[in-house]
Symmetry: C2
């Protein structure tokens, strides 16, 4: 064969890195493309999103969260080097410096093509006591294991969760499932700041109903410890919350120190900036994806940082196709997210009110209550749907849903409508599946769309 | 007031008729618009789709299926005349002849605007024995009540359901729920002819697994009776199936005799033909909607007859807006439908293989298996997704889903994508909600779209 063998180097062995490796291998044989992947931890291709369910006991063990082991990757002719940390990227020299964390040796590896998939690191505010025993993050499988070990060796049953975003509320559920008394301390006015406060209020009320103590508008000032250095309470300006274990759920930042030192372009949120093919801007042979990049928000036209496994996997797929000589793009996101706390489902897509204002849009916002099934069908459960539409054009801007079974994934209809640029009037005619066990005769999304149409007309002084 | 009062006459007091009445009343006061509605039966605004769940016992009583009673309509200044059948429409004379079924009197009522919402009637083949005691249709609340009365006075526990479309499979479920031995006799190769046969096969297998005897490829030739005229068996060319009760689930035809006699335009399926505002073609002041009209199938560009409560309600809303001086349209359908048999969910939207062929389209079809939740999450349940895409353009043509919890309403994503004219490649980038309790990291719809992209490329000789 006349084709020169190329070497693809991948930094990071989780969703993006290993998806890219797998897809590239599908397209290119080992004779065409050598693939070397460096992972500083002990696991590959795992579901970080599954950690709360492992901690809560719904998922049996750590191994279930691992989609593909190092051995399985190696069977596909991927030269995967575990517990090996890349310390430097030499862009002009087209090589990376890696350190074998076991042997302590460092060595350079040349690349023809490079994929940066270094992920994100959890926010860990520099507070007194933050490093105390019993204070845990939940970003990696190792973090999850450390938390479970602590829980198994702790007698007290009081957990304080710091932060009330997705990770915070999911960890609150996990600790409730384990039988803990749970307090959630949250800086925002209401939990789930990815929702408008009126919808966050519904989450607040439901969590209170589950017996969770919700502390809003509160900034943690320090972690108080015992004489032996174990956590005993979380302090805010006004109060102290006794704690046998503290879980930090404050969100994450892109892990891009390596990229910054290499002079690669970073955005306002600290994530790598790429083009639509996930190539690092200005660098023909370097790709990046997953939690270490910023993504284009199609609704606002701005870059955002969204750490989400589904994006990371798509990025890996796109990168693998392009690196392997195919063609694929990641056009951006509309900002869909879904979560739950026990049987409360929470979903959002598109712009919140404050996002719409920040984008300079004039909008109407409507809120409706409906049910997941026909009202007369057993198990019919309430949901609240909030919908934003642009004035004048009637274009759908965003949807938030809080409710019981069947509430969460209904947001997908709005996500597709946003992607397609539909108006709320167009949405009222959507041919959604109807049968009594699945939906009222007017699906809640259609009810919201009808009300939004009326609101757009009223705002512009037209008759209904 | 200088405005002359107009009279709106509505024929049919179910979903379309009474939705139209309510919406028109919202827009026009009684001084502006008199509304007279004729209903030949005993009920208004009820959910015929709920009848199987009432018969099966999931819904307590008949009244739960009635969204709004005659009294509630009358409170809104709608002159509703129950048990009054319209016998003739005099189009040139702008009047209808109605018969009070109690008093036996007939009288003419003039109209300025007319709404025809006469619904559908069940297919009832003219077979020997078809009128035997114990043979039931399930189209109206009265039908449902008659069936329940029969069941309560019948000792035997053998039910034969004729037909395996939506009504057939839902009635099979209902009879299983009531503890009957159920046989489904079906003319098609597989149940659910609204699916391709390979997907219908999955329904067949699941129904067999529920203990239902499935007889495919079988035409009923006669209903056999006792000496006292009660049903005792259903006969096909090759066999006899003992029956204590027989349920006809053969689908429906538009109820348009009145319209036909009045010279109004009917389509190939016997339904009234309307414009996009639901105005009967060629008749400025006559509207029609619901089960008595044909609707535009946006995928094939042809008219179809689809009897479905969700369309009937939308039609009523559109008609009421237009009759009331507003503006609304019903742009057509993509053919979405969802159903279930016990815990098996069945959904479809867009074109089947034979529809695509009939429309002259070249297409690829792919089928994938995935789960409703992350594979490691408790309750993760299988679903099979079949997806059709046009060759060359990659345009989505249709989706069919058969599976367990969470399978059915996933079809909505495809319904919106069809409406928006998306390609399967565009669909692979859809920002659908992801969290382990709601979806695998690649939603089943995305997995199918990825496979469809590969199939489109392969069919056109492009590399993956």
């Amino acid at each position: 064969m006349s084709t020169k063998q190329e070497r693809l180097v991948i930094i990071g062995g989780d969703a993006t890195g290993m998806s890219a490796a797998s897809q590239a291998r599908r397209l290119r044989s080992p004779e065409e493309l050598e693939i070397v992947a460096f992972e500083r931890g002990d696991f590959t291709s795992y579901s970080a999103c599954g950690i709360p369910y492992w901690v809560g006991g719904a998922v049996d063990g750590r191994d279930e969260l691992v989609a593909r082991t190092p051995e399985e990757h190696r069977e596909r002719a991927i030269d995967l080097r575990m517990r090996t940390e890349v310390r430097r990227i030499d862009v002009p020299g087209r090589r990376v410096l890696a350190r074998d964390l076991e042997a302590g040796e460092e060595y350079w590896t040349a690349y023809d093509k490079l994929v940066i998939a270094t992920g994100a690191r959890p926010l860990r505010p520099s507070l007194p006591g933050i490093d105390a025993s019993g204070v845990h993050g939940v970003q990696t499988l190792g973090d999850g294991q450390a938390l479970i070990d602590t829980l198994e060796h702790t007698e007290g049953r009081r957990a304080v969760v710091v932060g009330a975003g997705y990770i915070g509320v999911e960890m609150a559920e996990a600790m409730i499932q384990r039988g803990y008394d749970v307090t959630v301390v949250n800086r925002g006015k209401e939990p789930m700041s990815t929702l408008d406060a009126d919808m966050g209020r519904l989450v607040h009320e439901a969590m209170t109903g589950l017996g969770i103590e919700m502390v809003n508008d509160a900034e943690v000032t320090k972690i108080l410890t015992d004489d032996d250095g174990r956590v005993r309470a979380v302090a805010t300006e006004n109060a102290e919350y006794p704690a046998d274990v503290v879980i930090l759920g404050l969100g994450v930042r892109p892990e891009t120190e390596l990229a910054r030192e290499a002079g690669l372009p970073l955005g306002d949120h600290g994530g790598l900036l790429t083009d639509l093919a996930m190539r690092v801007r200005g660098h023909e042979d370097i790709w990046a994806g997953g939690d270490c990049v910023e993504v284009l928000d199609l609704m606002s036209g701005r870059e955002r940082h969204i750490a989400l496994g589904t994006h990371a996997n798509k990025h890996g797929q796109v990168i693998g196709s392009n690196v392997g000589g195919g063609y694929a793009t990641f056009p951006g996101v509309v900002g869909t997210a879904v979560s739950k706390v026990c049987d409360l489902e929470i979903a959002r897509t598109g712009l919140r009110e404050k996002d719409a204002r920040a984008a300079g849009l004039r909008y109407v916002a409507v809120t409706i209550e409906s049910t997941n099934r026909a009202g007369y069908y057993p198990g019919a459960a309430l949901m609240t749907v909030k919908m934003l539409a642009e004035r004048r054009t009637g274009k759908l801007l965003g949807v938030q849903i809080v409710g019981r079974e069947g509430a969460g994934k209904r947001v997908d209809v709005a996500a597709v409508a946003l992607t397609a640029g539909m108006t709320v009037e167009q949405m009222t005619a959507l041919d959604l599946g109807y049968a009594p066990p699945f939906s009222p005769v007017w699906d809640p999304i259609l009810v919201a769309a009808r009300k939004a149409v009326a609101a757009v007309r009223a705002a512009d002084g037209q008759p209904g």
